[in-house]
Protein backbone atom coordinates (compact mmCIF):
# COMPACT_ATOMS: atom_id res chain seq x y z
CA UNK A 1 0.00 0.00 0.00
CA UNK A 2 1.19 3.51 -0.62
CA UNK A 3 2.65 5.50 2.23
CA UNK A 4 -0.44 7.67 2.29
CA UNK A 5 -2.35 5.19 4.44
CA UNK A 6 0.13 4.78 7.26
CA UNK A 7 2.34 7.04 9.34
CA UNK A 8 6.07 7.13 8.73
CA UNK A 9 6.71 6.84 12.48
CA UNK A 10 5.86 4.17 15.00
CA UNK A 11 5.54 6.68 17.83
CA UNK A 12 4.56 10.33 17.94
CA UNK A 13 7.55 11.81 19.73
CA UNK A 14 7.38 15.23 18.11
CA UNK A 15 6.35 17.01 14.94
CA UNK A 16 9.99 17.00 13.98
CA UNK A 17 10.39 13.69 12.18
CA UNK A 18 6.92 13.72 10.65
CA UNK A 19 6.35 14.30 6.95
CA UNK A 20 3.81 16.48 5.22
CA UNK A 21 2.00 13.26 4.18
CA UNK A 22 1.79 12.25 7.86
CA UNK A 23 0.13 15.55 8.71
CA UNK A 24 -2.32 15.18 5.84
CA UNK A 25 -3.17 11.62 6.90
CA UNK A 26 -3.70 12.61 10.54
CA UNK A 27 -5.87 15.56 9.51
CA UNK A 28 -7.97 13.60 7.02
CA UNK A 29 -8.53 10.85 9.60
CA UNK A 30 -9.37 13.48 12.23
CA UNK A 31 -12.03 14.93 9.93
CA UNK A 32 -13.84 11.59 9.97
CA UNK A 33 -13.51 11.32 13.74
CA UNK A 34 -14.91 14.82 14.11
CA UNK A 35 -17.95 13.53 12.22
CA UNK A 36 -18.15 10.59 14.66
CA UNK A 37 -18.11 13.05 17.59
CA UNK A 38 -21.14 14.84 16.18
CA UNK A 39 -23.29 11.70 15.92
CA UNK A 40 -25.90 10.70 18.48
CA UNK A 41 -23.57 7.84 19.51
CA UNK A 42 -20.09 9.31 19.76
CA UNK A 43 -18.20 6.08 20.04
CA UNK A 44 -16.66 3.55 17.67
CA UNK A 45 -15.34 0.08 18.55
CA UNK A 46 -12.02 0.44 16.69
CA UNK A 47 -9.65 -0.07 19.65
CA UNK A 48 -11.81 -2.32 21.81
CA UNK A 49 -8.94 -4.83 22.25
CA UNK A 50 -6.42 -2.14 23.10
CA UNK A 51 -5.16 -0.69 26.38
CA UNK A 52 -3.61 2.75 26.71
CA UNK A 53 -1.73 4.05 29.74
CA UNK A 54 -1.77 7.80 30.31
CA UNK A 55 1.37 8.66 32.27
CA UNK A 56 1.43 12.23 33.49
CA UNK A 57 4.65 13.15 35.25
CA UNK A 58 3.58 16.79 35.01
CA UNK A 59 0.26 18.47 35.72
CA UNK A 60 -2.34 18.64 33.02
CA UNK A 61 -6.07 19.07 32.86
CA UNK A 62 -7.27 19.60 29.33
CA UNK A 63 -4.67 17.51 27.51
CA UNK A 64 -5.25 14.61 29.85
CA UNK A 65 -9.03 14.86 29.60
CA UNK A 66 -8.82 15.19 25.86
CA UNK A 67 -6.61 12.11 25.52
CA UNK A 68 -8.80 10.13 27.90
CA UNK A 69 -11.95 11.05 25.98
CA UNK A 70 -10.28 10.23 22.69
CA UNK A 71 -9.26 6.81 24.02
CA UNK A 72 -12.73 6.11 25.40
CA UNK A 73 -14.47 7.23 22.20
CA UNK A 74 -12.33 4.62 20.41
CA UNK A 75 -13.41 1.98 22.99
CA UNK A 76 -9.88 1.49 24.30
CA UNK A 77 -9.29 0.53 27.93
CA UNK A 78 -7.59 3.33 29.81
CA UNK A 79 -5.34 3.39 32.86
CA UNK A 80 -4.21 6.68 34.35
CA UNK A 81 -1.09 7.44 36.26
CA UNK A 82 0.13 10.68 37.75
CA UNK A 83 3.50 11.22 39.32
CA UNK A 84 2.06 12.76 42.46
CA UNK A 85 1.67 10.02 45.07
CA UNK A 86 3.40 7.33 43.00
CA UNK A 87 6.54 5.20 43.27
CA UNK A 88 8.41 7.88 41.34
CA UNK A 89 8.63 9.64 44.69
CA UNK A 90 10.24 6.49 46.09
CA UNK A 91 13.11 6.69 43.63
CA UNK A 92 11.95 4.45 40.79
CA UNK A 93 13.44 5.26 37.38
CA UNK A 94 11.31 6.20 34.38
CA UNK A 95 12.14 3.00 32.48
CA UNK A 96 11.30 0.84 35.50
CA UNK A 97 8.02 2.64 36.06
CA UNK A 98 7.00 2.22 32.44
CA UNK A 99 8.17 -1.39 32.20
CA UNK A 100 6.11 -2.24 35.27
CA UNK A 101 3.05 -0.75 33.64
CA UNK A 102 3.77 -2.51 30.35
CA UNK A 103 4.12 -5.83 32.21
CA UNK A 104 0.37 -5.46 32.86
CA UNK A 105 -0.16 -5.79 29.08
CA UNK A 106 -0.56 -2.21 28.03
CA UNK A 107 -0.41 -1.57 24.25
CA UNK A 108 0.43 2.13 24.08
CA UNK A 109 1.80 4.87 26.31
CA UNK A 110 0.68 8.49 26.29
CA UNK A 111 3.13 10.47 28.38
CA UNK A 112 3.75 13.98 29.61
CA UNK A 113 7.10 14.54 31.23
CA UNK A 114 8.91 17.65 32.51
CA UNK A 115 12.21 16.68 30.85
CA UNK A 116 12.72 17.44 27.16
CA UNK A 117 13.68 14.27 25.32
CA UNK A 118 12.22 11.88 27.90
CA UNK A 119 10.05 10.34 25.18
CA UNK A 120 12.94 9.77 22.81
CA UNK A 121 14.84 8.08 25.61
CA UNK A 122 11.87 5.91 26.51
CA UNK A 123 11.20 4.96 22.89
CA UNK A 124 14.67 3.44 22.71
CA UNK A 125 13.97 1.32 25.80
CA UNK A 126 10.44 -0.02 25.38
CA UNK A 127 8.60 -1.76 22.59
CA UNK A 128 5.21 0.00 22.39
CA UNK A 129 4.16 3.15 20.52
CA UNK A 130 4.63 6.29 22.60
CA UNK A 131 2.64 9.49 22.22
CA UNK A 132 4.24 12.68 23.47
CA UNK A 133 1.69 14.71 25.42
CA UNK A 134 4.29 17.38 26.18
CA UNK A 135 7.94 17.13 27.19
CA UNK A 136 9.07 20.13 29.21
CA UNK A 137 9.61 23.16 27.02
CA UNK A 138 10.43 21.04 23.98
CA UNK A 139 7.45 19.70 21.98
CA UNK A 140 3.70 19.18 22.30
CA UNK A 141 2.91 17.52 18.99
CA UNK A 142 -0.81 16.81 19.40
CA UNK A 143 -1.41 20.49 20.25
CA UNK A 144 0.33 21.52 17.03
CA UNK A 145 -1.64 18.93 15.09
CA UNK A 146 -4.92 20.26 16.44
CA UNK A 147 -3.85 23.88 15.95
CA UNK A 148 -3.00 23.27 12.29
CA UNK A 149 -6.17 21.18 11.86
CA UNK A 150 -8.22 24.10 13.26
CA UNK A 151 -6.35 26.56 11.04
CA UNK A 152 -7.08 24.46 7.97
CA UNK A 153 -10.76 24.43 8.88
CA UNK A 154 -10.75 28.17 9.43
CA UNK A 155 -8.44 29.46 6.65
CA UNK A 156 -8.82 26.65 4.10
CA UNK A 157 -6.97 23.38 3.48
CA UNK A 158 -3.97 24.96 1.81
CA UNK A 159 -1.85 26.93 4.25
CA UNK A 160 0.92 27.55 1.72
CA UNK A 161 1.97 31.17 1.90
CA UNK A 162 -0.49 32.04 4.67
CA UNK A 163 0.91 34.23 7.44
CA UNK A 164 0.67 32.71 10.91
CA UNK A 165 2.04 34.48 13.96
CA UNK A 166 2.80 32.92 17.33
CA UNK A 167 2.72 35.57 20.03
CA UNK A 168 3.95 35.61 23.61
CA UNK A 169 6.15 33.41 25.73
CA UNK A 170 8.00 31.50 23.02
CA UNK A 171 10.93 30.69 25.28
CA UNK A 172 8.97 28.54 27.71
CA UNK A 173 6.46 27.13 25.26
CA UNK A 174 6.49 23.61 23.85
CA UNK A 175 3.43 24.56 21.82
CA UNK A 176 5.47 27.16 19.92
CA UNK A 177 8.20 24.80 18.76
CA UNK A 178 5.78 22.07 17.64
CA UNK A 179 3.63 24.64 15.88
CA UNK A 180 6.63 26.06 14.04
CA UNK A 181 7.62 22.60 12.75
CA UNK A 182 4.05 21.80 11.72
CA UNK A 183 3.36 25.14 10.03
CA UNK A 184 6.64 25.03 8.14
CA UNK A 185 5.80 21.51 6.91
CA UNK A 186 2.50 22.84 5.57
CA UNK A 187 4.25 25.71 3.81
CA UNK A 188 2.97 28.58 5.94
CA UNK A 189 4.98 31.72 6.72
CA UNK A 190 5.64 31.77 10.43
CA UNK A 191 6.44 34.75 12.59
CA UNK A 192 7.03 34.75 16.32
CA UNK A 193 6.35 37.89 18.28
CA UNK A 194 7.19 38.74 21.88
CA UNK A 195 9.65 40.58 24.11
CA UNK A 196 13.36 39.94 23.44
CA UNK A 197 13.69 38.03 26.69
CA UNK A 198 10.98 35.51 25.77
CA UNK A 199 12.25 34.61 22.31
CA UNK A 200 15.09 32.07 22.13
CA UNK A 201 18.26 33.42 20.56
CA UNK A 202 18.66 31.27 17.47
CA UNK A 203 15.01 30.82 16.59
CA UNK A 204 15.35 32.51 13.20
CA UNK A 205 17.46 29.53 12.11
CA UNK A 206 14.24 27.52 11.98
CA UNK A 207 13.14 29.75 9.13
CA UNK A 208 10.77 31.93 11.11
CA UNK A 209 10.59 35.70 11.27
CA UNK A 210 11.12 37.32 14.63
CA UNK A 211 9.25 40.46 15.59
CA UNK A 212 8.91 42.47 18.77
CA UNK A 213 6.05 44.62 17.51
CA UNK A 214 2.56 43.19 18.00
CA UNK A 215 0.82 45.94 16.01
CA UNK A 216 2.96 45.27 12.97
CA UNK A 217 2.41 41.53 13.39
CA UNK A 218 -1.37 42.00 13.49
CA UNK A 219 -1.25 43.85 10.16
CA UNK A 220 0.90 41.06 8.68
CA UNK A 221 -0.94 37.98 9.90
CA UNK A 222 -3.87 35.84 8.72
CA UNK A 223 -4.03 34.12 12.09
CA UNK A 224 -2.59 34.69 15.56
CA UNK A 225 -1.77 31.96 18.04
CA UNK A 226 -1.63 33.66 21.45
CA UNK A 227 0.47 31.85 24.04
CA UNK A 228 0.10 32.06 27.76
CA UNK A 229 2.79 33.67 29.90
CA UNK A 230 4.15 30.64 31.74
CA UNK A 231 4.97 32.26 35.07
CA UNK A 232 5.49 28.81 36.62
CA UNK A 233 8.42 28.18 34.28
CA UNK A 234 9.98 31.61 34.79
CA UNK A 235 11.68 30.92 38.10
CA UNK A 236 10.78 31.99 41.61
CA UNK A 237 9.61 35.39 42.74
CA UNK A 238 13.15 36.48 43.59
CA UNK A 239 14.89 35.42 40.39
CA UNK A 240 15.55 37.72 37.47
CA UNK A 241 12.31 38.60 35.69
CA UNK A 242 11.79 38.24 31.97
CA UNK A 243 9.75 41.44 31.89
CA UNK A 244 9.11 44.16 34.50
CA UNK A 245 5.42 43.62 35.25
CA UNK A 246 2.46 41.74 33.84
CA UNK A 247 0.77 45.09 33.29
CA UNK A 248 3.62 46.25 31.09
CA UNK A 249 3.53 42.97 29.18
CA UNK A 250 -0.20 43.41 28.56
CA UNK A 251 0.33 47.01 27.39
CA UNK A 252 2.76 45.85 24.71
CA UNK A 253 1.68 42.30 23.86
CA UNK A 254 -1.89 41.90 25.10
CA UNK A 255 -4.39 41.35 22.28
CA UNK A 256 -7.36 43.73 22.44
CA UNK A 257 -10.24 44.48 20.08
CA UNK A 258 -8.77 47.92 19.51
CA UNK A 259 -5.50 46.40 18.34
CA UNK A 260 -7.31 43.86 16.16
CA UNK A 261 -9.02 46.78 14.43
CA UNK A 262 -5.73 47.58 12.66
CA UNK A 263 -6.03 44.50 10.50
CA UNK A 264 -7.77 44.77 7.17
CA UNK A 265 -8.48 41.00 7.23
CA UNK A 266 -10.75 38.93 9.42
CA UNK A 267 -8.10 37.47 11.67
CA UNK A 268 -8.38 34.01 13.20
CA UNK A 269 -7.40 33.98 16.87
CA UNK A 270 -6.17 30.83 18.56
CA UNK A 271 -4.98 30.04 22.06
CA UNK A 272 -3.83 26.66 23.36
CA UNK A 273 -5.29 27.38 26.82
CA UNK A 274 -5.49 27.88 29.67
CA UNK A 275 -6.12 31.53 28.85
CA UNK A 276 -5.22 34.31 31.22
CA UNK A 277 -7.97 36.79 30.45
CA UNK A 278 -6.70 40.36 30.55
CA UNK A 279 -3.03 39.32 30.25
CA UNK A 280 -2.16 37.99 26.78
CA UNK A 281 -5.71 38.29 25.46
CA UNK A 282 -8.66 40.43 26.48
CA UNK A 283 -12.02 38.87 27.30
CA UNK A 284 -13.66 40.65 24.39
CA UNK A 285 -11.22 39.07 21.91
CA UNK A 286 -11.35 35.62 23.52
CA UNK A 287 -15.15 35.63 23.21
CA UNK A 288 -15.31 37.33 19.80
CA UNK A 289 -16.23 35.75 16.49
CA UNK A 290 -12.51 35.84 15.56
CA UNK A 291 -11.70 33.35 18.28
CA UNK A 292 -11.64 29.61 17.52
CA UNK A 293 -10.40 28.71 20.99
CA UNK A 294 -13.28 26.37 21.82
CA UNK A 295 -13.19 24.79 18.37
CA UNK A 296 -9.55 23.98 19.06
CA UNK A 297 -10.64 22.10 22.17
CA UNK A 298 -13.32 20.21 20.21
CA UNK A 299 -10.88 19.39 17.42
CA UNK A 300 -8.35 18.23 20.00
CA UNK A 301 -10.35 15.09 20.78
CA UNK A 302 -10.79 14.23 17.07
CA UNK A 303 -7.11 14.80 16.30
CA UNK A 304 -6.00 12.68 19.25
CA UNK A 305 -8.40 9.93 18.16
CA UNK A 306 -6.75 10.03 14.74
CA UNK A 307 -3.25 9.79 16.22
CA UNK A 308 -4.16 6.88 18.49
CA UNK A 309 -6.06 5.10 15.71
CA UNK A 310 -3.21 5.42 13.23
CA UNK A 311 -0.49 4.40 15.70
CA UNK A 312 -2.51 1.39 16.87
CA UNK A 313 -2.64 -0.17 13.41
CA UNK A 314 -0.56 -3.19 12.62
CA UNK A 315 2.87 -2.28 11.34
CA UNK A 316 4.20 -3.84 8.18
Amino acid sequence: MSDSSSLSQRSLLGIRGLTCADLDLIHSTAREFKDVLNRPIKKVPSLRDFTVANLFFENSTRTRLSFELAEKRLSADVVNFSAAGSSVKKGETLVDTVNNILAMKVDMVVMRHPHPGAHHFLASKVDVPIVNAGDGTHEHPTQALLDTFSLRQSLGEDLTGRNIAIVGDIQHSRVALSNIWALKLLGANVRVCGPHTLIPKHLSKLGVEVSHDLDDTIRWADALNMLRIQLERQGSEDSVRFFPTLREYTMRYGLTLERLGQSSKSLTIMHPGPINRGVEISSEVADSEHSIILEQVENGVAVRMAVLYLLAQKRG
Partner: protein
Protein backbone atom coordinates in the same frame (compact mmCIF):
# COMPACT_ATOMS: atom_id res chain seq x y z
CA UNK B 1 -8.03 -18.04 -17.97
CA UNK B 2 -8.95 -14.55 -19.14
CA UNK B 3 -10.83 -12.07 -17.01
CA UNK B 4 -14.49 -12.52 -17.70
CA UNK B 5 -17.24 -9.91 -18.10
CA UNK B 6 -20.01 -11.05 -15.78
CA UNK B 7 -22.45 -8.26 -16.52
CA UNK B 8 -22.15 -6.22 -19.73
CA UNK B 9 -23.54 -2.64 -19.83
CA UNK B 10 -26.95 -3.52 -21.34
CA UNK B 11 -27.67 -6.14 -18.70
CA UNK B 12 -26.32 -3.80 -15.99
CA UNK B 13 -29.01 -1.23 -16.83
CA UNK B 14 -31.73 -3.88 -16.72
CA UNK B 15 -30.56 -5.12 -13.35
CA UNK B 16 -30.58 -1.61 -11.84
CA UNK B 17 -34.07 -1.11 -13.20
CA UNK B 18 -35.26 -4.42 -11.74
CA UNK B 19 -33.71 -3.66 -8.34
CA UNK B 20 -35.47 -0.29 -8.28
CA UNK B 21 -38.82 -1.92 -9.09
CA UNK B 22 -38.29 -4.62 -6.47
CA UNK B 23 -37.57 -1.94 -3.86
CA UNK B 24 -40.76 -0.06 -4.76
CA UNK B 25 -42.74 -3.28 -4.55
CA UNK B 26 -41.66 -3.83 -0.95
CA UNK B 27 -41.10 -0.34 0.43
CA UNK B 28 -43.00 2.88 0.95
CA UNK B 29 -40.31 5.46 0.19
CA UNK B 30 -41.91 8.10 2.37
CA UNK B 31 -40.75 5.90 5.28
CA UNK B 32 -37.67 4.28 3.78
CA UNK B 33 -34.11 5.54 3.31
CA UNK B 34 -31.26 4.21 1.23
CA UNK B 35 -27.87 3.90 2.89
CA UNK B 36 -24.88 3.04 0.71
CA UNK B 37 -21.77 1.53 2.26
CA UNK B 38 -18.65 3.52 1.42
CA UNK B 39 -16.87 3.60 -0.87
CA UNK B 40 -18.44 1.43 -3.59
CA UNK B 41 -21.92 0.78 -2.26
CA UNK B 42 -22.77 4.47 -2.14
CA UNK B 43 -22.37 4.67 -5.93
CA UNK B 44 -25.05 1.97 -6.33
CA UNK B 45 -27.26 3.71 -3.77
CA UNK B 46 -26.97 7.00 -5.70
CA UNK B 47 -27.99 5.26 -8.91
CA UNK B 48 -30.93 3.54 -7.25
CA UNK B 49 -32.03 6.88 -5.80
CA UNK B 50 -32.11 8.39 -9.31
CA UNK B 51 -34.15 5.43 -10.62
CA UNK B 52 -36.53 5.53 -7.68
CA UNK B 53 -37.14 9.24 -8.00
CA UNK B 54 -37.90 8.80 -11.71
CA UNK B 55 -40.39 6.08 -10.89
CA UNK B 56 -41.82 7.95 -7.90
CA UNK B 57 -41.82 11.63 -8.89
CA UNK B 58 -43.70 12.60 -5.71
CA UNK B 59 -40.97 11.24 -3.42
CA UNK B 60 -37.55 12.52 -2.46
CA UNK B 61 -35.50 9.55 -1.43
CA UNK B 62 -32.94 10.05 1.36
CA UNK B 63 -29.63 8.54 0.39
CA UNK B 64 -26.81 8.41 2.95
CA UNK B 65 -23.20 7.37 2.67
CA UNK B 66 -22.05 5.24 5.55
CA UNK B 67 -18.39 4.55 6.27
CA UNK B 68 -17.80 1.36 8.23
CA UNK B 69 -14.01 1.57 8.62
CA UNK B 70 -14.01 2.27 12.36
CA UNK B 71 -16.46 -0.60 12.95
CA UNK B 72 -14.57 -3.32 11.09
CA UNK B 73 -13.43 -6.41 12.99
CA UNK B 74 -10.05 -6.53 11.22
CA UNK B 75 -8.81 -2.98 11.87
CA UNK B 76 -5.71 -3.99 13.74
CA UNK B 77 -5.06 -7.31 11.98
CA UNK B 78 -5.52 -6.16 8.40
CA UNK B 79 -2.23 -6.28 6.52
CA UNK B 80 -2.77 -2.79 5.16
CA UNK B 81 -3.79 0.12 7.40
CA UNK B 82 -7.43 0.99 6.75
CA UNK B 83 -8.13 4.59 5.86
CA UNK B 84 -11.60 5.90 6.49
CA UNK B 85 -13.87 7.29 3.76
CA UNK B 86 -16.21 10.22 4.10
CA UNK B 87 -19.29 9.49 6.15
CA UNK B 88 -22.26 11.53 4.94
CA UNK B 89 -25.50 10.76 6.71
CA UNK B 90 -27.58 13.90 6.55
CA UNK B 91 -30.51 12.34 8.42
CA UNK B 92 -31.17 10.06 11.38
CA UNK B 93 -32.63 6.62 10.77
CA UNK B 94 -34.64 6.61 14.01
CA UNK B 95 -37.89 4.71 13.34
CA UNK B 96 -37.24 4.57 9.59
CA UNK B 97 -36.98 1.57 7.32
CA UNK B 98 -33.46 1.35 5.90
CA UNK B 99 -32.19 -0.41 2.81
CA UNK B 100 -28.44 -0.96 3.16
CA UNK B 101 -26.82 -0.99 -0.26
CA UNK B 102 -23.47 -2.49 -1.25
CA UNK B 103 -21.97 -3.52 -4.57
CA UNK B 104 -20.58 -6.98 -3.77
CA UNK B 105 -21.58 -9.25 -0.89
CA UNK B 106 -18.79 -11.70 -0.09
CA UNK B 107 -17.96 -12.77 3.48
CA UNK B 108 -20.64 -10.61 5.08
CA UNK B 109 -18.19 -8.90 7.42
CA UNK B 110 -18.59 -5.46 5.85
CA UNK B 111 -22.37 -5.71 6.27
CA UNK B 112 -21.90 -6.75 9.91
CA UNK B 113 -19.78 -3.62 10.44
CA UNK B 114 -22.37 -1.62 8.47
CA UNK B 115 -25.17 -2.71 10.83
CA UNK B 116 -23.11 -1.52 13.80
CA UNK B 117 -22.20 1.75 12.09
CA UNK B 118 -25.85 2.34 11.16
CA UNK B 119 -26.99 2.06 14.78
CA UNK B 120 -24.84 5.09 15.64
CA UNK B 121 -27.31 7.10 13.54
CA UNK B 122 -30.44 5.98 15.37
CA UNK B 123 -32.57 2.87 15.82
CA UNK B 124 -34.15 1.95 12.50
CA UNK B 125 -37.53 0.21 12.39
CA UNK B 126 -36.12 -2.37 9.99
CA UNK B 127 -33.01 -2.96 7.90
CA UNK B 128 -32.87 -4.87 4.64
CA UNK B 129 -30.00 -5.44 2.28
CA UNK B 130 -29.66 -4.84 -1.45
CA UNK B 131 -26.54 -5.91 -3.37
CA UNK B 132 -25.57 -5.88 -7.01
CA UNK B 133 -23.52 -9.07 -6.78
CA UNK B 134 -23.98 -11.92 -4.32
CA UNK B 135 -20.93 -14.18 -4.22
CA UNK B 136 -22.64 -17.28 -2.93
CA UNK B 137 -21.04 -19.99 -0.78
CA UNK B 138 -18.40 -17.63 0.64
CA UNK B 139 -20.21 -16.26 3.67
CA UNK B 140 -18.42 -16.19 7.02
CA UNK B 141 -21.38 -14.73 8.93
CA UNK B 142 -25.11 -15.52 8.80
CA UNK B 143 -26.03 -12.59 6.56
CA UNK B 144 -28.24 -12.87 3.49
CA UNK B 145 -29.38 -10.15 1.08
CA UNK B 146 -33.04 -9.31 0.39
CA UNK B 147 -32.48 -7.89 -3.09
CA UNK B 148 -29.88 -9.33 -5.43
CA UNK B 149 -28.71 -8.11 -8.82
CA UNK B 150 -26.96 -11.33 -9.78
CA UNK B 151 -25.63 -14.45 -8.10
CA UNK B 152 -22.02 -15.25 -8.82
CA UNK B 153 -20.31 -18.50 -7.93
CA UNK B 154 -16.60 -17.89 -7.69
CA UNK B 155 -13.62 -19.13 -5.77
CA UNK B 156 -12.00 -17.13 -3.00
CA UNK B 157 -8.92 -16.10 -4.96
CA UNK B 158 -11.03 -14.47 -7.65
CA UNK B 159 -12.19 -10.88 -7.37
CA UNK B 160 -15.41 -9.31 -8.56
CA UNK B 161 -14.93 -5.76 -9.78
CA UNK B 162 -17.86 -3.41 -10.39
CA UNK B 163 -17.02 -0.58 -12.80
CA UNK B 164 -19.15 2.55 -12.96
CA UNK B 165 -19.64 4.84 -15.92
CA UNK B 166 -18.84 7.82 -13.67
CA UNK B 167 -15.31 6.48 -13.21
CA UNK B 168 -14.55 3.95 -15.95
CA UNK B 169 -16.74 5.01 -18.87
CA UNK B 170 -18.87 1.85 -18.84
CA UNK B 171 -21.19 0.22 -16.33
CA UNK B 172 -20.13 -3.40 -16.10
CA UNK B 173 -19.00 -6.16 -13.75
CA UNK B 174 -15.82 -8.14 -14.29
CA UNK B 175 -14.54 -11.33 -12.70
CA UNK B 176 -10.78 -11.07 -12.14
CA UNK B 177 -8.72 -14.18 -11.53
CA UNK B 178 -6.63 -12.49 -8.89
CA UNK B 179 -7.08 -9.54 -6.61
CA UNK B 180 -5.99 -6.25 -8.23
CA UNK B 181 -2.91 -4.66 -6.62
Amino acid sequence: MQNQVLIPPAQFALILDRLAHQLIEHHDFSETDLVGLQPRGSRLAERLKVHLEELLPENTVNCGKLDVTFFRDDIRTHEKPLSPNVNDMGFTVENRHVVLVDDVLFTGRTIRAGLDALLAHGRPKSVSLAVLIDRRFSRELPIEPNYIGKHVDSIGAQHVLVEWAEEQELDRVILLNSKPQ
